[in-house]
């Protein structure tokens, strides 16, 4: 479904501060699976996530998403692919303060020109699914950690993506909330959603729902394979 061939990403090329974030990456992600990217800080996890999620262009190599090559797609098209295919959950959730929960959920769909009433109905349904209907009109800064997490998930789902990408989703959560998060993810995966998580939380690595683990070090893949109990 998502294929990377000999992908390389270099920042500040040609300058003294040149930094090779990723090199020689060959990776294939299958639909319907939960994949985890693990590795220490600076291993290239975040960069790889950006490339997989069509947020950045590789310096070299090729990337295919659903059979379509996106390597040299200009931003306009890349963004459209990203918006339709991926839903993102960021570290610390990154909700916009001053906006309500439901407004935060609707934001990713604004540029597609959908009728507002329909969009709102869809957002309400998502919040209901995540047991947050009662907090729909609460401002983002007044949400608890668990509530913010669920709003972030709803937001990631608003455009009916095929893939959910989560970057260190449990880094600022306690164990209970982390487990809740994985439950939701497993439910989504059960419904056919492909999930990609970058994390160094052992709770996620050891979660039974995980199908595929990719380990990175110094910008290269050191191992990948089906989930194994450590």
């Amino acid at each position: 479904m998502i294929e990377l061939k000999d992908v390389r990403k270099v920042y500040n090329a040609g300058k003294p501060s040149e930094f090779v974030a990723l090199d020689g990456i060959d990776l294939s992600l299958e639909a319907g699976r939960v994949t985890v990217l693990k590795g220490p800080s600076g291993s290239g996890k975040t960069t790889l996530l950006s490339l997989l999620g069509c947020m950045a262009r590789p310096t070299a190599g090729r990337i295919h998403v659903f059979g379509r090559e996106i390597t040299s797609l200009p931003e306009r098209f890349l963004t459209e692919v990203r918006r339709k295919t991926f839903g993102f959950i960021f570290q610390q959730f990154q909700l916009i303060k001053g906006m309500t929960a439901i407004e935060n959920v609707m934001i990713p769909a604004y540029p597609s020109g959908e009728r507002r009433a329909e969009l709102k109905a869809r957002a309400e349904k998502l919040l209901e699914m995540l047991n947050l209907s009662h907090r729909a009109e609460a401002n983002a800064e007044w949400l608890s950690g668990g509530e913010a997490q669920r709003v972030a998930i709803a937001r990631a789902l608003i455009n009916n993506p095929a893939v959910i990408i989560a970057d260190e989703p449990t880094a600022h959560l306690d164990t209970k909330l982390a487990r809740e998060f994985m439950e939701i993810i497993e439910n989504l995966n059960g419904g056919g959603m492909t999930v990609l998580i970058a994390s160094h939380d052992p709770l996620i690595h050891e979660s039974p729902g995980v199908d595929h683990v990719v380990t990175l070090k110094d910008g290269r893949i050191v191992s990948q394979g089906a989930f194994q109990c450590s």
Binding site: T46, T47, L49, S50, M55, A56, E75, R76, T79, E80, R82, R83, F88, F90, Q91, Q94, I96, K97, G98, M99, E103, I107, P108, Y110, P111, S112, G113, E114, R115, R116, L119, R155, N159, D167
Partner: protein, 377 residues
């Protein structure tokens, strides 16, 4: 239509975003409105006063003939009027008597003019409101005017000219021919200038040329030329004032640039989130466009409204002296409110356009934030 819905959604978000940053937006709004207010005041005032001058001069004679001696305006013999009367197409040829009088007690210059209606009531005068204001007390009584032979003429105020005509009549004193000739010692054969009308309006220039030929020491002046001069003077004054105000416009543009470029951490963060969530660069640029529209439209309306009130209800207290001209006697009058699309378009070109151009590059810098900055924080 998808396109319209998209504009609505983004506009909605933009307005919410502006309200979330009320403080910063307000500061810019105030300065922007102020700049528009100042420019609009100048433009409205100039336009209205030009119109006023045209309206007022409607009653003025189409052509005046003066006599020049050594390049200076001198008295003209009544006999010249006879010569002029013979020209084909000319009618209503009349001599006028008028002059200036300097009153040392208050430093004012009055215009003294003969009104044939007063010829039967020698010793009585009708004065303009500006003159009346300079007289002590309410009961005006008699005014002493110093004649050319050093003696004093005591002339009784018989009436005051109405307020509607104040623009031209403020400093006017109307008197009888007898009193006038006595005041200035002007012999009976002379008048100050001669007015006339021509039957075919297209012929004024031809008639003026004929008069110049028949009476080589005369100077015909057309009302049209006076209007042109007024227009040019008011325009010029307005132009100079705007050039002076350019300094403040520039300061405003720098503020606009600075505000757009110096985004707070929060604003940058917000844009990063949008980009990461699937908003494209052109979507962010669209948001910035609507932001500009919201701010510009609001400031434009506030500025124009304030200028309208300032010019037409408060008589442009701030700019009056420069625009109307220096004089001790100010006619008090209300300008007729007059705004048209042309003035609005000019204002738009002077304010909104530079503002928009100043904010293009900062807006673009914001819009081109990398979407993966959210991943890297």
């Amino acid at each position: 239509m998808r396109w319209i819905e998209k504009q609505r959604n983004i506009l909605d978000f933009t307005l919410g975003s502006l309200l979330r940053r009320r403080g910063k937006s307000l500061a810019l709004l105030i300065v922007y409105s102020l700049v528009i207010f100042m420019l609009a005041s100048v433009i409205f005032f100039t336009h209205a006063i030009k119109k006023e001058a045209a309206v007022v001069l409607e009653g003025a004679p189409e052509m005046i003939v003066q006599r020049l001696i050594a390049g200076r305006h001198d008295l003209i013999p009544k006999s010249y009027a006879d010569t002029i009367r013979e020209i084909k197409g000319v009618y209503a040829v009349n001599g006028r008597l008028w002059g200036y009088y300097y009153d040392p007690t208050n430093g004012a210059n009055y215009t003294l003019m003969v009104d044939s209606d007063l010829n039967d009531t020698a010793g009585s005068i009708v004065i303009g409101k500006g003159v009346a204001r300079n007289l002590p007390g309410d009961n005006y009584g008699a005014i002493p005017l110093k004649a050319s032979d050093g003696s004093y003429l005591f002339l009784k105020v018989g009436g005051i000219l109405p307020a509607e005509s104040e623009l031209v009549s403020a400093d006017l004193i109307l008197m009888s021919e007898k009193d006038f000739r006595l005041m200035f010692g002007i012999p009976d054969e002379y008048v100050t200038d001669i007015t006339l009308q021509v039957r075919n309006p297209k012929e004024y220039t031809t008639v003026a040329t004929k008069i110049s030929q028949l009476l080589p020491d005369s100077r015909p002046i057309l009302k049209e030329e006076i209007l042109r001069t007024y227009d040019a003077v008011f325009d010029w004054r307005a132009g100079i004032l705007i050039v002076i105000l350019l300094g403040s416009i520039l300061a405003f543009l720098i503020l606009a640039w600075d505000r757009s470029a110096g985004l707070s951490v929060e604003e940058k963060h917000e844009t990063g989130i949008l980009k990461a969530l699937g908003w494209e660069t052109s979507d962010i640029l669209l948001m910035k466009f609507w932001e500009g529209v919201a701010i510009s439209l609001t400031s434009f309306l506030v500025g124009i409204l304030a200028a309208y009130v300032h010019v037409f209800f408060f008589a442009s207290g701030l700019f009056e002296p420069v625009l109307k001209g220096w004089s001790v006697l100010y006619p008090e009058f209300r300008l007729t409110p007059f705004i048209d699309g042309y003035q609005v378009a000019t204002l738009f070109l002077l304010t909104v356009v530079p503002f928009t151009i100043a904010t293009i590059i900062p807006a673009w810098r914001t819009a081109t934030i990398d979407p993966d900055t959210m991943m890297r924080t």
